[in-house]
Amino acid sequence: MRNFRTVMIVLGIGLAVSVSLSAHAEDTAPDAGTPDVTEIMKKNFMVGKLTDSESGMTMVLIDARGIRRERKVESFSKLLPNGIDQERVAKFLSPPDVRGTATLTREHSGGDDDIWVYLPALKKVRRLVASNKRDSFMGSDFSYGDVITPRVEDWNHTLVKTEPCGEHNCYVVESVPASEDIKRNTGYGKRTQWIRTDNYMTVKGEYADLAGRPLKEFSASGLFEADSKLGRWMAKSLRMKNLQTEGVTEISFDEIKVNVGVPEDTFSERYLKR
């Protein structure tokens, strides 16, 4: 804990990125004229990687009986020097009894992610182990695997078709875990994503569990270009429905600022306690 470092990622942006996936080279021996699925997935992987961001977010959890719970979160993110991993800090503003509770996450694309949690009632920072990507993200219907960008090569991808999705066209990409470990770790047997052909953002996703049963449905809306220089995009609203528990989580970003130069000490234990 003592030598814990200031590394964090804005969770909202992470969420937008979350649905990106990458492809194996061997998957892709595209025919002439067919887009290369690996290229699609690499672009999809990168499209949400913002240099840094600051946002206010509302998370609404709706259970099977329709009972709604609302959480307000303030969050910051920063891309790490490797250009892939992010640091993220999230501070809860409500409900009142968890106000001030904060998490600091540092992705390690090569291994387990680090998560630190500050509990104001305990006045201590505690470390959690989140080797498990299927664990719930902030108690929502999103899992860490949904929000923390997975490595492209962890999944085997197939471009099924291209079809219209709303006013745009989408690549429909099916991805299956490349190894038993990934399968177990994410809890998904298959993911199907609708990726816009113009900007590579995922607008819809369907996830099956390890037994092949439908598990979750994802959708993103209110897409906008957050960083036109780098061609990075974000979604204003995200929705995940767990088909098995019938729980729904809706996340909306109330205000988003990108490339604002989030100070490095935001991603520190001291900041969490503040």
């Binding site: 509770t101 949690v117 009632a121 305990l122 959690l128 989140a130 993200f137 177990r184």
Partner: protein, 774 residues
């Protein structure tokens, strides 16, 4: 008027038989419309607070239909890949069953069963077993994880590590409508896993209820056996084929009519009424025998078939209509009850008795008029002296009318005293297990599981804070902890589990696993933050079985090794004493779960059935008094009935059989049949007394005729019901023995105690001046 009516029936006998035949066929066809209500909820007393609490929490926590599946390797402990793979497959496949409550599925491999480990840095929450350990090191890790979480000991693994269990909870739905379908779903999941390496057993309330339903279906077989036995006893009584078939025809047609009418009015039959057809059969046969006996008597006097039919129908018809209407009204009066099954019982039996009356007043006289007159041999065979029976009755009549009356009354008083003592020993307690025999698979499975785990029966305590976050209040959580301590001290309780256990574990984990901190934190904020912390490291749904996501309601799951409602009552009494002393104001603690549902049903059924008896008794007194024109006589008629009821209670008390849902249902049946003997006997006695003011003469001829018929009927019904004593199913045995006992007591009471009392009380209506013309 009655005479001309019977004459019309006899004159147009072919038409009457044809019309009645058509009606019977029509009603028989309507049996197809008879709906058997399998929805167990509909039979539960919906107004009872336990049932209301269960309904209220059912869609939140479930907990109504919890089943426990146990698996043990034949060699070694559960920490073998082959056993763990089976646990994983059973768990996964149970999750596919429609109606499974996912949040309540618990096993080593269930995702919500997690290890909470404290470290120097904080807390690690990981599922016990995501995949079956492949190496020895992984296997050891699993072992360590399980054994450092005693929270789950004796619920998903036995303390000795030799048995594992999977807990499942089901909610009824169109695809899983009843207990047998839950049972079937479980069996389908486990059957593929049964092999030489393991043994698998399962139990729980839905399984017990399913077995009971299965046994109830066998009632049909006993019904057929009862029909045959009753027929044979009648054949012995009359020694004629008419004597064998006619009463059975009435009885069977009455059952068909009763069921057919239920089909037409659209009232569903429920499993608790599976025994009711035998009651109608017995009542129907009883009336038919009285009338047939009188027919032979009249035939012997006049030697003319049609005259005998007319005379017997007129003479016994009045009595039959009176007794039948009294009984039917008594049963219909049960429709004022709230409990569906008691209403159905009243309606069904009432309709059955009315059917008997209609059939006996139309079809049977017509049919008998069509049949040839008894041949001389036949008539002789019928009236031939039954050496022992006639001898006994000839001896009994003067004994009762003479010196014996006081002895009989004295003996009755002594018997009542003894029975009163026996009654005081009756325990009101319902448990499904004693309904089964130790040889039954359910009994063995349930015993196997209760020997190894916390219990197959559930009692739930719902703590309702009414508003969100109220269940994060440390004061309440500490009160819950105290309640769990109290429950844990009860002998029948194997284990309790609630959010409190997880919070204590988290507090300890967040304090480097220091046992000092295995307690509820004092601050609500800290509690809220622990729960939040768990939700972001464990799963957001992991606590769904214990607390609502809004933290307004929580439950304490209590696993019990016994399902006795008396035990539950005792525990509930202690809990109700504890609640106001420890829970802050504004919180309500409600009781639910399978044991509570059975408890509610038991209370309502036992109290309801006892009120049934009182109501039937009262109606018999009122109507019999009116018809006999004597309140005293009306009261006397019910003496054999009171004796039968006390005799039944005493038998329950002396034989340590509980007054439960089953036995309490038997009592009003016994009363319903028993009243008829006394009514027939007293009407005949009254008739004879009008002929002759000499009590001894009147009693002797009553004894020879109606007394004999009472003996035939009661011996036939007793023999019919005793067939049930052969059943391996405990409830059927009790039903058989208790009804047989009631028949013996009420028939003996009718022919001994009743006349002895009449002799001494001398109701005015009975001792009028004899009519000159008779």
């Amino acid at each position: 008027m009655l005479r001309s009516y019977v004459e019309v029936i006899v004159r147009y006998r072919v038409a009457v038989v044809a019309i009645l035949g058509v009606i019977s066929v029509y009603l028989g066809v309507n049996l197809g419309n008879l709906h058997v209500e399998v929805d167990p909820d509909k039979n539960l007393p919906q107004g009872h607070p336990y049932i209301q609490a269960q309904n209220e929490i059912d869609d939140i926590f479930g907990g109504k239909n919890i089943a426990l599946i146990g698996i043990a390797p034949k060699k070694g402990d559960i920490f073998q890949p082959i056993v763990l793979e089976k646990i994983q497959r059973i768990t996964d496949n149970l999750l596919l069953v429609p109606g499974i409550i996912r949040a309540n599925v618990l096993s080593i491999s269930a995702n919500r069963a997690k290890d909470i480990l404290g470290t120097e840095d904080g807390m690690i929450v990981t599922p016990f077993m995501e995949t079956v350990p492949a190496t020895e090191r992984e296997m050891q890790e699993l072992k360590d994880k399980l054994f450092r979480n005693p929270l789950f000991a004796n619920s998903i693994y036995s303390k000795d590590g030799r048995t594992a269990a999977i807990l499942a909870d089901f909610r009824f739905n169109p695809e899983l409508p009843d207990f047998p379908s839950i049972h079937k779903a479980i069996e389908e999941v486990v059957q593929d896993e049964r092999d030489d390496s393991v043994e698998i057993h399962y139990s729980g309330f839905p399984v017990a209820a399913s077995w009971m339903a299965k046994y109830s279906e066998r009632m049909a077989i006993y019904f057929i056996i009862a029909v045959i036995v009753i027929g044979l006893v009648h054949f012995e009584a009359f020694r004629t084929l008419q004597g064998l078939f006619l009463p059975l025809l009435t009885a069977l047609l009455a059952v068909v009519w009763g069921l057919g009418l239920m089909g037409i009015v659209g009232i569903a039959l429920d499993p608790f009424n599976a025994t009711t057809p035998i009651l109608i059969l017995a009542v129907g046969a009883g009336h038919a025998v009285q009338i047939l006996k009188r027919y032979y008597e009249e035939y012997a006097a006049c030697q003319d078939n049609q005259t005998a039919v007319i005379e017997s129908t007129i003479k016994v018809g009045t009595v039959m209509l009176t007794t039948g209407i009294i009984a039917a009204l008594a049963f219909f009066s049960l429709m004022t009850f709230q409990t569906t099954t008691i209403r159905t019982f009243g309606l069904f039996t009432g309709l059955g008795i009315l059917s008997v009356l209609v059939i006996e007043m139309t079809m049977i006289p017509a049919l008998r008029a069509m049949l040839p007159a008894p041949k001389h041999k036949e008539a002789q065979a019928e009236s031939a002296e039954r050496k022992y029976l006639d001898g006994a009755l000839e001896w009994l009549a003067p004994y009762v009318s003479g010196s014996g009356s006081k002895a009989i009354i004295g003996a009755t008083v002594v018997a009542l005293g003894a029975w009163g003592y026996g009654t005081s020993m009756v325990k009101i307690d319902n448990s499904l297990k004693p309904y089964f025999s130790p040889k039954d698979q359910f009994y063995q499975d349930d015993t196997w599981l209760n020997d190894r785990f916390a219990g197959t029966n559930s009692l739930l305590f719902v703590i309702d804070g009414k508003e969100p976050d109220k269940l994060k209040n440390p004061e309440v959580l500490k009160a819950m902890e105290g309640l769990q301590d109290l429950l844990g001290k009860q002998e029948a309780v194997g284990k309790t589990l609630s959010i409190v256990d997880f919070l204590k574990k988290m507090n300890k984990a967040m304090n480097a696993d220091d046992p000092e901190f295995e307690r509820i934190p004092d601050s609500q904020e800290l509690i809220a933050q622990y729960l939040f912390l768990y939700s972001i490291s464990g799963g957001p749904d992991d606590f769904d079985a214990y607390v609502t996501k809004t933290y307004d309601k929580a439950i304490i799951q209590t696993f019990m090794k016994k399902d006795n409602t008396a035990v539950a009552d005792e525990i509930i009494r202690k809990v109700q004493d504890y609640i106001p002393k420890h829970f802050p104001p504004g919180y309500e603690v409600k009781i639910a779960g399978s044991v509570a549902s059975a408890d509610a049903l038991n209370h309502v059924m036992v109290e309801g059935k006892i009120r049934n008896i009182a109501q039937i008794w009262l109606i018999v007194v009122v109507l019999a008094s009116l018809v006999l024109r004597s309140l005293v006589a009306g009261l006397l008629v019910t003496v054999p009935l009171i004796l039968a009821v006390f005799g039944e209670f005493a038998a329950l008390g002396f034989f340590r059989a509980n007054l439960d849902i089953g036995t309490s249902a038997i009592l009003p049946m016994a009363v319903g049949i028993g009243a008829d003997y006394a009514l027939y006997f007293i009407f005949r006695l009254k008739e004879e007394l009008r002929k002759s003011q000499a009590f001894d003469e009147a009693l002797l001829s009553t004894m020879r005729t109606s007394g004999k018929a009472v003996f035939f009927v009661s011996s036939a019904i007793t023999a019919g019901y005793l067939c049930l004593a052969l059943s391996p199913f405990g409830f059927h045995r009790k039903l058989g023995l208790l009804v047989a006992l009631a028949m013996v007591i009420s028939s003996l009471g009718a022919i001994t105690v009743l006349p002895a009392l009449i002799k001494h009380v001398r109701p005015k209506a009975f001792f009028l001046k004899p009519k000159k013309d008779q």
